[in-house]
Symmetry: C2
Subunit: 232 residues, 2 copies
DNA sequence: TCAATAGTGTCTGTGAGACACTATATC
DNA sequence: GATATAGTGTCTCACAGACACTATTGA
C-alpha cells in the first residue's frame, strides 16, 4: 500500500498556573487578543519553538506570564487533540501543564502584555473558556488535589518560610474542605522530609506565635495525606 | 515584533503493551523495518492521521498489533519531545500510552506484519531500544506499578473469569515481589466493586478448587493496595 | 483577666503485616 | 493417609479522625 505522508500539526503548551490568594485557590487566565475566541478568557500558553522540548516551551511561557524563575513545579496534565478543538486549518494539539506559584505580591499579575487575571477557580470552572480550556482546567484541578495527597508540592504554594497553619490553608483552599488542625500538624511535622524548622518564630497577630518551617528534601509523601471523602 | 510561523511537527502514539505470560510481565516489542534504528527493537506505534485524536491513533495501533478489540485499558504515560530524539528532518514528538492485555493465546503475537515479540520486561529494560523507547518503557513500568496500587486495572490482565490466585500473580509479576496470600485475599474480596463471585469453581490440579470471580464495577481502589517498600 | 491562635495528649476505629490455622481437593 | 492449594482467624502495630486539653502571645 502507498504510505501517505505523516500529518503535520502545531503543538502548544498550555499552563494551568495555580496560586492561593486570601485563602482561596486562584488560576491565571488571560484574555485572548486574537482570533479564534478573541476576548474570551483562556489559559496562557504558546507554540513549541525550534530546538525546544515541550517542557521548555511551558517553562518559557511560565516565566513570561508570572515573571518568576523557572524552578517552579511543573507537571504534565494531558494531551488534548480532538479534531476540531481549534478551528484553524492546521491542527493544533496542546499539552497541558500544571504549575504552582507561591502567594507573592505580583507585579501586575503577570508581566505579559495581554490582560492576565488571577481568577478564583470556582469562578473559572463555571466560566466559559476558549477552546477546550474548561476541560483542561477541571482535569488540572483534579490532578492538583490528588498530588497534594501523595506529594509535598503544597510547599510550592508557600513563601520560602511558612507556618504549619499556612500550609494547612493550602490544603483547605485546594481541596475546598476544612482539615483538622491537630492531626494535620502531627502528620506534616512527623512525615520525614516534608518540612523542617528554621528555628524562628513569627507573631501571628494575637495568640501564640507560630514556629516557622522551610520545605524539606522529600517529594513523595508516604503514607499519603488522606483526602476527605466529600472532595473526591 | 514579527511573529514567526508556528513550528510544524509530526505526532506519533507509541504503545507500551503489557501482558503476563508464565507469571512474568512481558511487553510487546517490534523490530524496526525502516530507518532510523532499522533492526532495533522498538515500541509499536504510528503517526496521527487526519480526523483522529491521538487516543484514537493509539487504539488503532493497539488493535493492529494485538488483534484485540478496542475496549482495552489505555492511559497516557507522557509526551516525549526532546529535540533530536528522532534524527529525521521534521521533528517527531510522541505521546506514550500504556495498555494492558489479558494473557490469552496469541495468534502470532500480534497480527501485524513486522516481527512482534512478547519480551520479558526485565530483558526489555536492559536491552537497547530505538529512539528514547527505553526511557518510555521505564516510565510506563513505574506508572503501571503505581496504577496497580490505586486502581482495579489488574483485572485487565486476566481472562473474563479468574481466581484470586491469578489476580495475585498479576501483582507479583508487575511488582516483581511476593504478596502475602492471606492479606491479599481479604483486601481484594472486601474492597467494594473490585471483584464479584461468578458462583463457579475451578479445580486447580491438586488441592482445594478455587472460586471464580469476574471484574467488578469499581475502577478506583480506596484505600489503595499498599506496595512493598522494596519495589519503590 | 480574656480572647485568640499554636501546639499536644489521648482514645477509638480501621486496616496492613505476619503467620497459624482450617477446608477441600488429588494422589 | 500424604500432599497441595484455597481460604479464614487472630494478634500486633501504625495511623487517621475526633476532640479535649495545654501553651504562649496581645489587648
Amino acid at each position: 500500500m502507498a504510505s501517505r505522508p505523516p500529518l503535520l500539526v502545531n503543538l502548544t503548551a498550555d499552563l494551568v498556573i495555580f496560586t492561593i490568594r486570601d485563602a482561596r485557590l486562584h488560576v491565571l487566565l488571560v484574555e485572548r487578543g486574537n482570533e479564534p475566541y478573541r476576548g474570551l478568557p483562556a489559559l496562557p500558553g504558546g507554540f513549541l519553538r525550534e530546538g525546544e522540548s515541550i517542557e521548555q516551551t511551558a517553562r518559557r511561557e511560565l516565566a513570561e506570564e508570572t515573571g518568576l524563575g523557572d524552578d517552579l513545579h511543573l507537571e504534565l496534565v494531558g494531551v488534548y487533540s480532538a479534531p476540531g478543538r481549534d478551528p484553524r486549518p492546521v491542527r493544533v494539539i496542546t499539552t497541558a501543564f500544571l504549575a504552582i506559584a507561591p502567594d507573592l505580591p505580583w507585579p501586575t499579575a503577570g508581566s505579559d502584555a495581554s490582560a492576565a487575571h488571577w481568577t478564583p477557580v470556582d469562578e473559572a470552572v463555571a466560566a466559559s473558556l476558549a477552546f477546550d480550556h474548561g476541560e483542561i482546567l477541571r482535569d488540572a484541578l483534579e490532578q492538583a488535589r490528588t498530588s497534594l495527597q501523595h506529594s509535598t508540592i503544597a510547599v510550592e504554594f508557600c513563601a520560602p518560610e511558612f507556618t504549619i497553619g499556612e500550609l494547612r490553608d493550602v490544603y483547605e483552599a485546594v481541596w475546598g474542605h476544612p482539615v483538622d488542625r491537630a492531626n494535620f500538624h502531627r502528620k506534616v511535622t512527623q512525615a520525614e522530609g516534608f518540612v523542617e524548622k528554621t528555628g524562628e518564630k513569627r507573631p501571628s497577630g494575637a495568640g501564640r506565635p507560630s514556629v516557622l518551617y522551610r520545605a524539606g528534601d522529600a517529594t513523595v509523601l508516604e503514607p499519603p495525606m488522606t483526602r476527605p471523602v466529600s472532595t473526591r
